[in-house]
């Protein structure tokens, strides 16, 4: 064997090798200008002097990515197949647990999918090759999550209501305009704002609050596929968190003029995301037959402790302050889930999930988790609802609620410190009045009124005749609702099927 005579001493280090395989693929164009190739990175006002300063948070090559991800998916789909074959849904705690998964399927995969498309936008239009490649990997991950979520819940769809038309519903149904408008807002912004909105605020600040309740809820309630999906997505999520953190640091380190822009985005997207996941608060305190922890505990652990006392201490170095309106969120932590679930209860006849009055066991848990606020809510709200049920009826709100112009949640939140007085704010823009659920949403509107006046507000649209017709049954058809999708849980198709599946039967072989 011949050995080359003049062998240089040092081969490529891992880092140099990685750089040769990724960053070094870029070149400076000469036939067209860089501005023409990457036209969208200046209008937001973010100044970048040196894209090469972008530190790749994870040094993955395409080869390594495909290898890891293929192995993860092999395991996940094996679990899904086994669960379906063994009729695993029979082992859930109760059929009403599925309501959490209905909201998950209706609201989350379409968001993951939007994340996929918009990270592709960054993968195309960021000037720096490192930032582009990281965005490309995240784009694929998000597509993975959208698809694995649909495949995970596909088996349940065959046996339960509320899941069968999730993609159409996410475009049409009133409460699903909350997640849709959130992702539309981020996707129609510029690439840097997207990175703060989704990469940082959503994937880092709020991700545990969003995913832990669903995934741990699955684990506690016998939902093996969703739990397995959660574990499988976790290693992707940790890469996404690192990308979000790198994104904000990169912007802040590039130019000090970027600080006020980034801070304002952070203020906006904290509140936007916080309002979005209030749906999760209602779900975790009221819809899980077996609870993991309360919203209040989750908020204290995953937000106050880990983010406010952890992350934001690190970001102080850059001059970043905790999000504006964060105190409002803290003040709401003992009432948020009660208020949200009460809205869902009243309007579930026009929804693709069912609700019911918390039973004795639920009430005992709520009383322990919320000793200061639950008793008040119980007497003001649930005792009355119970009296209606006792009289043989079920209370549904026959009217249509007013929606907040920004978060699009029905106006049911209250004044800080006064949980019995509904909060209502408004701004006038070009002679029209717009209403908001909170200072946070009003502040967001006032920064960009020309954007938020465009909102497709489901209730306005119904009144304008754009949702199938003037009556609730017309709208329900247009939404794609079928019998068994919504309404009261007790006596629903899901409930009856569940009882029939578990009826004691002795059959001779």
């Amino acid at each position: 064997m011949t050995v080359p005579t003049q062998k240089p001493a040092r081969k490529l280090s891992m880092q140099q090798r990685y750089s040769a395989l990724t960053h070094d693929l870029d070149w400076d164009p000469t036939y067209v200008t860089e501005e023409e190739i990457y036209p969208y990175t200046t209008f937001e006002g973010i100044k970048v002097h040196d894209w090469s300063k972008w530190e790749d948070p994870f040094r993955l090559t395409v080869e390594a990515y495909n290898k890891y991800q293929a192995e993860k998916d092999r395991r996940l789909y094996a679990v899904l197949d086994g669960f379906a074959q063994s009729q695993g849904q029979l082992g859930l705690t109760e059929a009403r647990y599925m309501n959490a998964m209905k909201i998950f399927l209706q609201g989350i995969p379409s968001g993951e999918y939007q994340a996929h498309r918009n990270f592709s936008h960054l993968a195309r239009y960021f000037n720096g090759p490192g930032a582009r490649f990281a965005s490309l990997c995240q784009s694929l991950d998000e597509l993975r999550h959208a698809q694995t979520e649909v495949h995970t819940l596909s088996h349940y769809n065959k046996f339960f209501g509320g899941m069968h038309d999730w993609s159409r519903m996410s475009d049409r149904v009133w409460y699903l305009s909350v997640p849709k408008s959130f992702f539309d807002d981020a996707g129609t912004a510029g690439p840097f704002e997207w990175l703060i909105a989704i990469g940082f605020s959503f994937e880092y600040l709020l991700t545990n609050l969003l995913f832990v309740p669903f995934m741990s809820g699955a684990a506690f309630n016998g939902d093996l596929p969703t739990m397995t999906f959660g574990f499988s997505a976790q290693s992707d999520e940790s890469r996404h968190m690192t990308l979000g953190l790198e994104g904000i640091k990169f912007m802040l380190e590039q130019d000090e003029d970027n600080l006020p822009i980034v801070q304002a985005w952070l203020d906006k997207w904290f509140w936007r995301g916080y309002r979005l996941i209030s749906l999760v608060a209602g779900m975790m305190d009221y819809m899980l037959p077996k609870r993991v922890m309360s919203w209040k505990e989750a908020f204290e652990l995953y937000f106050e402790e880990q983010m406010l006392n952890g992350l934001f201490k690190d970001l102080e170095y850059y001059g970043i302050k905790p999000p504006r309106h964060v105190q409002w969120a803290i003040d709401e932590k003992e009432i948020l889930s009660h208020q949200v679930y009460w809205v869902l209860y009243q309007y579930s006849h026009a929804a693709a999930f069912t609700t019911t009055i918390p039973d004795a066991e639920d009430q005992a848990w709520l009383e322990e988790a919320y000793p200061d606020t639950w008793p008040v809510f119980k007497s003001v709200v649930w005792d009355k609802a119970q009296r209606v049920v006792d009289s043989g009826e079920r209370y549904f709100n026959p009217g249509l609620p007013q929606l907040c112009q920004v978060c699009q949640i029905p106006m049911g939140f209250t004044e800080p410190g006064n949980p019995l007085v509904q909060c209502q704010r408004h701004s006038i823009y070009e002679g029209e009045r717009y209403d908001f659920c909170s200072d946070g949403c009003q502040w967001i509107f006032d920064r960009e009124p020309e954007k938020y006046v465009q909102a497709w507000l489901p209730v306005h649209q119904i009144y304008q005749g754009n949702c199938g017709g003037p009556t609730l049954p017309d709208v329900a058809v247009w939404y794609g609702l079928e019998p068994g999708d919504g309404g009261e849980y007790i006596g629903s198709m899901d409930h009856q099927d569940w009882l029939a599946w578990h009826a004691p039967t002795i059959k001779e072989g």
Binding site: M1, P4, K11, L12, Q16, L21, D24, L25, W27, P29, T30, V32, E36, I37, Y40, F43, T61, V62, E63, N66, K67, Q69, A70, D73, R74, L90, S110, Y113, Q114, R117, S120, A123, R124, P129, R132, S139, L140, L143, R144, Q147, T148, N157, K158, H164, D165, S167, D171, K180, S181, D184, G187, T188, G190, Y452, Q454, W456, Q461, G480, D497, W501
Partner: protein
């Protein structure tokens, strides 16, 4: 003996999701269908993009190529994420094995001189071509209307940055673990006249702002370039003692066959559209009118440079490929501009 396995039989309420029942009738759906059809939002968008205020977030008018129903295009490979990464993990492993074989025996270093020049001067710079192709493909991932087209573009983008990385690995092996061949290849990409046609094409496509027109032009160039660089040279390499080149080239030829499957299907779907068939042909003709001669010239420059290093008849192969592709396009009713 046979076990009589007893399981509780629970009758399902439905076979699949309602959108698929509306499209295909009441039948079980595949995972490709459940994970791909009707996933993208199509209505009730809330806000206009700040960077494109005349468009919706997802809008069929981001390109001149249109489909009455975006899901009339289905990927013939039925690739959704899981089978995609599984198939690419397998091909990645195969490439790594070939490269390891070549590397441990230092076969690239032992290539005949002319073939070494082909690798250094013309193959390695193509990692930048592939990186540009990735950018063009990922544009489709953002701007295609409908998930099936988006998805195919996304995987193509990831494939192409993977191709760029694999060519780079060849470069590192070629240098016995060092990167100066890559640095020199970049200089050639930026300055060697034989490659400027390709580079100009990629750069110009990147400012088109119509992902499908970019994709079509890139594909036309791919068809000629892959045919010369990988198919033709693969055979020529075997005949002239450059087995290492053949070992590497086969992986790119194999990938391109896979890539062709969805692109050919997309073109077929465009031209068969009940409403937009003529619109799509006109858009394709527009690409041909603007780009065909540029592409033919760019690839024949590469072919001439190949022949200058080892006379394998690359120029003739490029010409043959050009005629063959032109004939295919004419058969589809398209107008191929006459070359020089």
């Amino acid at each position: 003996m046979q076990f009589e396995l007893r399981t509780q039989v629970v009758e399902p309420r439905r076979k699949t999701f309602s959108n698929l029942v509306r499209r295909y009738g009441d039948r079980p759906a595949s995972r490709y269908e459940e994970g791909s059809v009707d996933i993208q939002a199509t209505e009730n968008f809330h806000y206009r993009p700040l960077w494109a205020p005349d468009k919706e977030l997802y809008d069929p008018t981001y390109t001149a190529f249109r489909l009455t129903d975006p899901y009339s295009f289905m990927d013939p490979r039925q690739l959704y994420y899981a089978p995609y990464v599984q198939s690419r993990a397998a091909s990645g492993e195969a490439f790594a094995k070939s490269l390891e074989y070549v590397d441990t025996r230092q076969l690239l270093l032992k290539l005949p001189e002319g073939w070494q020049a082909i690798v250094a001067d013309l193959l390695l710079p193509l990692r930048h071509y592939e990186a540009g192709a990735e950018l063009i493909s990922i544009e489709g991932s953002r701007f295609a209307y409908g998930t099936t087209i988006d998805q195919a573009c996304t995987y193509a983008a990831f494939d192409r940055i993977g191709n760029a990385q694999n060519i780079s690995r060849v470069g590192i092996a070629f240098n016995d673990g060092h990167a100066h061949a890559l640095a020199e290849a970049k200089e050639k990409w930026l300055g060697d006249p034989a490659l400027q046609g390709l580079r100009r094409l990629i750069e110009e496509l990147l400012i088109e702002r119509d992902y499908a027109k970019e994709l079509v032009a890139l594909d036309l160039c791919d068809r000629l370039l892959y045919s010369v660089m990988f198919t033709h040279l693969d055979e020529a390499a075997l005949l002239s003692g450059a087995g290492a080149y053949s070992l590497v080239a086969q992986h790119f030829s194999t990938w391109f066959l896979d890539q062709r499957r969805w692109i050919d299907q997309l073109i077929k779907t465009w031209f068969a559209d009940p409403e937009y068939s003529e619109v799509n042909k006109a858009a394709f003709n527009d690409v041909l009118a603007r780009r065909w001669n540029q592409i033919v010239e760019a690839v024949s420059d590469v072919a001439a440079a190949l022949d200058a290093r080892v006379d394998t008849g690359a120029a003739a192969a490029a010409q043959a490929a050009t005629s063959a592709v032109a004939a295919q396009l004419s058969e589809l009713g398209l107008t191929v501009p006459g070359g020089k």
